[in-house]
Amino acid sequence: MITSIRYEELDILLNDLFTRYGYDFTEYSRASLQRRVQRLFTLDKFPSFAEFRHRLQNDPLYFRRFVEEITVNVTEMLRDPSFYRTLRTSILPVLATYPFIRIWHAGCSTGEEVYSMAIILKEAGLLHKSLLYGTDINPLVIEKARKGIFPVSQMQKYSENYIQSGGIQDFSAYYTANYHLAKFDTSLTGKMIFSTHNLVSDSSFNEFQLILCRNVLIYFERNLQSKVFKIFDYSLENFGYLALGSKESLRFSPIADRYRQIGKEKIWRKVHEAT
């Protein structure tokens, strides 16, 4: 019988981590967090909650592992191809009118979406005047994103996504395959800046014309979602765009009335500045 981490224990743990390390997970949705913490607890074979708690309080390296393991890092290139098709046809032509394009991928995980964006910018002839910022709370995934090396086994799926997104080149031209790894072209990585950033505690760091944050907000409670929406709003130029995951919405957010949705995709345009 495996010991279950109860919600009360989870709350104790979250308070510990905030006090000890300044990382605040207390406004993360509990059900998902409980699964992730339970998974780690089982994986690392702790005999009791007390020992798990003690280790986390006293071993900063183990806390680092905790952050790496409890955050969800599932992503793929050109996920939801119709979303990228809309970016190509409706959003990039508008961004093309700017002398310089700044894009923020908030919660970018291992960077697959940043590389996807660089590819479509390149094909639109805009990459040379673009800068793509990729941020995540987890330092390990940021290191991976910087390297731009992904499993070759994924390339067939990504190539299919690419074609469905309206790509007409040969997708394999963007990477060099070596055994089981695919390294993406340095012409893409040269326009990317990766950094750790915690949406809970860090503030806005620049102004952007496009912010993408897909499948991150589903892990946050409503109150934290609102805070993050305010950071995005503050970081977005007037008439800039905010893109969310396929099941996320701006609808119930405090900034909703100043944004207009673009077609059926989860992309909103800021139509008024905050007053």
Binding site: S29, A31, R35, V74, I218, S249
Partner: protein, 192 residues
């Protein structure tokens, strides 16, 4: 046995026909909210909700994150997300790794609902060719929930329900043709 506060139906290959057979007995005043976790294939991915809605007067609704779980509705797990349930009886969505090669995974939702609803949960596992859902049923049973399995002899693909029968102390083993009546009986639970 008091009336359950949530019913979850999990199904994979061969389960869609069974679900379509059950739906007509669910009406808008049905007292138990129903959540359906179906392994989808891309063939009916886009029009599943419409297909289901054509068979019932009750509201068919894809799960939205943070949405409260209310009676009178039949909630459907969206393609490619796990469905979780929070302590305050609202839904959460989760895009983490597949479980049993599946997202949505039936095990993930059964287990999470078991934590929140305990003895107020009833879970039904239907036809399928995968063991997803069996471990979850075991967990639900351990928390006092009611476990119902489609009789494997009446399943198009018997692997999943058979596995459940082998592993879990099932409360009700119901042939496919009796499932609509069984569901209808939930409204007047407990059975006389």
């Amino acid at each position: 046995m008091r009336r359950p506060k949530l019913m979850i139906i999990g199904g994979s290959a061969g389960s869609l026909q069974v679900i379509l057979g059950i739906l007509p007995v669910i009406h808008p005043e049905f007292p138990v909210p129903i959540l359906i976790i179906l392994h989808r294939n891309s063939v009916f991915e886009s029009n599943l909700e419409e297909l289901l809605a054509s068979r019932t007067q009750a509201l068919i609704k894809e799960v939205e994150e943070k949405e409260p779980i209310l009676p009178g509705a039949i909630y459907i797990a969206p393609a490619d997300y796990h469905v979780l349930i929070e302590a305050d009886h609202t839904f959460s969505l989760d895009y983490s790794e597949r479980v049993n090669f599946s997202r949505p995974s039936i095990d993930v939702t059964f287990r999470c609902a078991g934590d929140v609803y305990g003895a107020d949960l009833i879970c039904l596992l239907l036809s399928g060719g995968n063991a997803d859902g069996v471990e979850g049923l075991q967990y639900v049973k351990g928390r006092g929930g009611i476990v119902v399995v489609q009789d494997p002899a009446t399943a198009e693909v018997s692997y999943m329900p058979q596995h459940a029968v082998n592993q879990v102390a099932v409360d009700f083993l119901v042939p496919a043709e009796d499932l609509p009546a069984f569901l209808k009986g939930l409204a007047t639970w407990p059975p006389a």
